[in-house]
Symmetry: C2
Subunit: 299 residues, 2 copies
């Protein structure tokens, strides 16, 4: 396997995710003795490029119009754009990637990648489908941090065309950036599971905010409402794209959830204390089991 | 107004709430120079009583069977029991409260108090209906803290029979324990608002856990699912009682929420990007407005 500290890393889209990749690579990989690698970044607006260069996080920066000068230098390229914009970027720039490069994405939906990649990519460029499971309601390079990924999950959806050496390198890179657990699965399972843990949760949080009668509701808050609606400070264009790109699976999850809500509603309306206690006890057990699993894997 | 540091405080039920009351009063009121007041506590199991006495948090402790020896000494009594158990306690012990005492509760439903109190209480005992808006999935005295209430809300539902001097004393006590905002309202409005911010959120979190297919789902978690289901580690008997005691209002909130979910589901199923972006942008604005209000009131 090539040494991570001798590679050139490219970041397309220097927002909270791209910025955190750059900072984690700078801190954990390219600050080691004998490092020869560089970080190159491209972004539509240029303010964050100047800032990242001034901070010593990235070595070279490129305005969007000059990205084709950057691509041939990058051994590993993170494309940190919205899902369809990522596919468009790969298509538009297919002739400019470095031969042998690893290219990867951060998209929250994967089925469209499995479907479109074969017709887009060159055989000498290895695209690894990945999803860093970290995010926040605060966007932009200004909110990126080297520690942003620590203790978080990363999902890889390896394809038959991926080279094992490249996957090994990607896993090592992910671990060095601070992620704790790498889950390898198919695009289909990814979209099904993420449709539940991420997209369904964002729909629920948003529907809860929409069903509030007035903003003064927080005078009556003890923390629950705040917890459930933190993620409702939502980036509308991104999440609309994610929801619609995964709509069959997401709608199935919404309907499962609605059935569970109806079971609670029925027991409450009927004043059925026995049924409610039973289902709430079961809920507590299930939730505790989930928490425990996460902790065990972390250690 | 009497001086808070010369009063005797009684706690019935020394769990996370009762224990935090005792610790906050000890730290913020009875540690001042010239304090002459005491804290007395009664609890069904006695382990926490010994611990609280050993820690110097409470001065005198009473097993449940001896509560009638404690009550005549208490100027301010916090009854930290489940809602119906609180009413039963008041009824069973009506002859033993100190004349002129302030008695208060922590129940998450208030309509039943407004309804039952007039027939239960003596005219020389002032019951102030209150709701400290703090809680946690970790229960018991072991998890109580003096700082537990800092920056939290307290709701008071004053009744026509309450004496203004007693309400003033209660407000001062609440502030001294660390609560930031006191909202005064009716029992009916309390139950409606809490049905939304607290009970509906607990139903949603529980239904979300119930709709998970397997506990390994957290391998695909990026924080959203964890945020939304922290409160699903739920105390079944307590929450069943709260839900059923407020069932008309809670079911109305569930149905409002279900209508909001359906609006999202329809837009997602139809792939209606315009509608989704519009409703998600509106959600973000609404949620930001709620956050801002909370922060402003805090300062």
């Amino acid at each position: 396997m090539k040494s991570l500290k001798s590679l050139n890393y490219g970041i397309v889209g220097l927002g909270i995710m791209g910025g955190s990749f750059a900072k984690a690579i700078r801190l954990n990989i390219l600050s080691q003795n004998g490092s020869t690698g560089k970080i190159l970044a491209c972004n539509r607006s240029t303010a964050c490029l100047s800032q990242a260069r001034a901070e010593g996080i990235v070595d070279e920066t490129f305005e969007s119009s000059r990205v084709r000068e950057m691509l041939p230098e990058c051994d590993v390229l993170f494309v940190c754009l919205y899902p369809h914009a990522t596919l468009d970027f790969l298509r538009d720039n297919r002739d400019f990637f470095k031969p042998g490069a690893i290219v990867t994405d951060i998209s929250g939906v994967k089925g469209i990648f499995e479907e479109k990649l074969p017709e887009i990519l060159r055989p000498d460029v290895d695209f690894i489908i990945g999803h860093p499971m970290a995010g926040g309601e605060k966007e932009g390079y200004a909110n990126s941090r080297a520690e942003f990924f620590v203790n978080h999950n990363y999902i890889l959806c390896a394809q038959p065309f991926n080279k094992e050496d490249d996957l090994e390198l990607m896993r090592a890179l992910i671990r060095d950036m601070g992620f704790t657990r790498i889950t390898e699965t198919t695009c289909d399972i990814h979209d099904y599971k993420i449709g539940f843990t991420s997209q369904l949760c964002h729909v629920i949080a948003s529907a809860l905010v929409q069903s509030a009668e007035s903003p003064d509701i927080t005078a009556f808050g003890g923390g629950s409402f705040e917890d459930l609606t933190r993620i409702a400070m939502i980036n509308a264009p991104l999440w609309s794209e994610l929801f619609i790109s995964n709509k069959e699976k997401l709608v199935a999850h919404i309907e499962n959830f609605e059935r569970a809500m109806d079971e609670f509603k029925r027991a409450i309306r009927d004043g059925d204390d026995d049924a409610l206690r039973r289902i709430l006890s079961d809920t507590r057990e299930k939730r505790l089991a989930m928490g425990a699993i996460r902790t065990i894997v972390k250690n």
